[in-house]
Symmetry: C2
Subunit: 420 residues, 2 copies
Amino acid sequence: MSSTTQPADLARHPLQGLRVLDLGQIYNGPYAGFLLAMAGADVIKIEPLSGEALRARGGMTGLAFSMGILNSNKRGIAMDLKSEAGKELFIKLVQEADVLLENFAPGAMERLGLGAERLQQLNPRLIYASSTGYGLSGPDRDNLAMDLTIQAYSGIMSINGPVDGPPLKTGPAIADFLGGVHLYAGIATALYEREITGIGRSVEIAMLETTFPVLSTSLTSMYNLGGKQPPRRGNSHPASASAPYGVYTTTDGHVAIICVREVHWQRLVTVMNQPGVEDNLHFADQKTRGKYGDEVDEVVNAWSCKLNKAEVVELLRAHNVPVAPVRTIPEVVEDPHMHSRGTLHRVKHPEFGDVVLPHSPLRFEGEQRVSLQPSPRLGEHTYKVLDDWLGYDAATVDALLEQGTLAAPDPRDRRAGHEQ
Amino acid sequence: MSSTTQPADLARHPLQGLRVLDLGQIYNGPYAGFLLAMAGADVIKIEPLSGEALRARGGMTGLAFSMGILNSNKRGIAMDLKSEAGKELFIKLVQEADVLLENFAPGAMERLGLGAERLQQLNPRLIYASSTGYGLSGPDRDNLAMDLTIQAYSGIMSINGPVDGPPLKTGPAIADFLGGVHLYAGIATALYEREITGIGRSVEIAMLETTFPVLSTSLTSMYNLGGKQPPRRGNSHPASASAPYGVYTTTDGHVAIICVREVHWQRLVTVMNQPGVEDNLHFADQKTRGKYGDEVDEVVNAWSCKLNKAEVVELLRAHNVPVAPVRTIPEVVEDPHMHSRGTLHRVKHPEFGDVVLPHSPLRFEGEQRVSLQPSPRLGEHTYKVLDDWLGYDAATVDALLEQGTLAAPDPRDRRAGHEQ
């Protein structure tokens, strides 16, 4: 702790006191709202009366667990933005808000009469943040966009997958999440700028555009190939410029090994202690090994396949060679490291039971982080939010519920809502 | 434009006037610095005398093109942080800086005597931002980390790849870039907070932790499977909950098709006009189609394989079914949409020639964005930066060059540097 700072200043949450309306759905918008909530903002998740699209995607449970992952520490209300009374109530909330975020298709909010321009006329300090597949302008603006189609259109699929297979989507929904974290990044930037100018800025993210820099390795390969498409390379180095680089077999699974520096290879050779490796000219340096990558992989696999994952990892860590076991999702959920850092939490969730949920990957030194609150049921915080933000009494809210402007919350939540 | 705002306020760059020291290397740190530079900050890329690691990874060109992608609009100086004179100069720069970012291994800056605590004592307004593989605490802190090993350890590999294949790394280096954009997000948050508190905050990102929320679909599948590892699913829906969902064959490549809503499927059925599809009970609703996904894919492929990519895309777009061609990297680089939006630029780069480079995916409504400046040569802006930041005259810089504290810039750049 520096002598010029006060502990109290660091214990605060970076975004405390800020009010956010989160109209996000599925992954993209909700992840931005999640990062805002975990940094201390008061984030209100606004859903349509029937709940957002993700609620219904739960398979056998009826409620998708991802709802629980991405909506922690938000308070929930459900309202009909198509009705006049709903729009009126929404505008009152907007007038109290610092940030509004949404990931609807371009033009959806304008069609409701709730576009950025109108809302910022009513509240010039409002930061209006939109994330779409292709952006709010340009010839592709109105193409329907999902993570899958953006992965196709962005070029990601063309360089993901085994050498001899078809183009492959990535396992995780990376276009959605790149969109979400860039949306948060834009909002945080606009919050900073508003402190300078006093004016809220509209922020716009296109998922497609967030994927472009992520192609850096393939763009480099294309450049080196004189503008041609680089091949899919499975687990090998995208430009055949390095080996060992990839995934190797053990008796009980796989490990990733990478020798970035010459000394890593020398140490690996020592550990493997295989005849004929040290003086093989095909293994002379990084560049040559990259060229003869298949031979390198054969040697490493011949060694690793006789050991188990833990043995390979322990040996190579002890010798400072970059290595990691390929872990399953259940192993990752139990990761002692992330639990010890307070990134993963064991939570008793009212809808999902005993589960592990993440806190934010954004960490601020000295902050007493907000405690993790389970995601809201549909309309759970209706009374509390309308009281906090607008000073509405219960009778006023009751009237809005009865006329169908708000969704009736679960009886357990009526007039209470859980405290945060 | 709202009546209460001034055009001049919106034309400004959100981060103009901010000073950043970017010690980033490879992708992670440099991408955060790139986003800062494109939002208007004065970002100084500080490299060791021999240049950062990425410079040497260029294959036949000797300089990796990714250097050019991720370092636009930064000014470059090269200095020896291990020498006393280098440390002294560095600290003078730190005293003028708003942000310092780095993605060295944990403890590297402390070992140089330049850790966050000391630097923030010297400059309490400094935001010190670190991105590492595993974070600055916890049992795995000191494991060597690269994008590849984080992909293994995070669980990403376990759910990427074809059904019958081994765990597979994703084509793009997503762990590195998720780290980089979260690092930027943390910095922007701390910049906002500093306006409230007056104090700079340390920000910490662990690549491993940024990948966890991105697993949401697989975490949901695991939850639905009672805690078991979900299988790799190639291009199919991770939870078999939806079809069509995936990549389909045409006469000249592949297309991605996804029917999120029932109406998408009905429209697709109309377009395909295949006998026996409409009344097949296996295709009755989303859930049933998900269960019989292989049959659905067979029907769609039987139709798509007779058309070319453009035909499939045009037909389905006309009928509002979510679709996209699987594009190659060269196609993406020429994308008319991203060029029209000013996201991609044709640049004559002094080291790479005529190339396409990206602007930032963070877009602020009304901003006159900074014009794209090519990435710096090693030490290119030495004289200009030390004059701007510290008021050093040429003779003072000459002395530092002669004693080896700074790297001699290319003779073309001596005393000039290109203007930004």
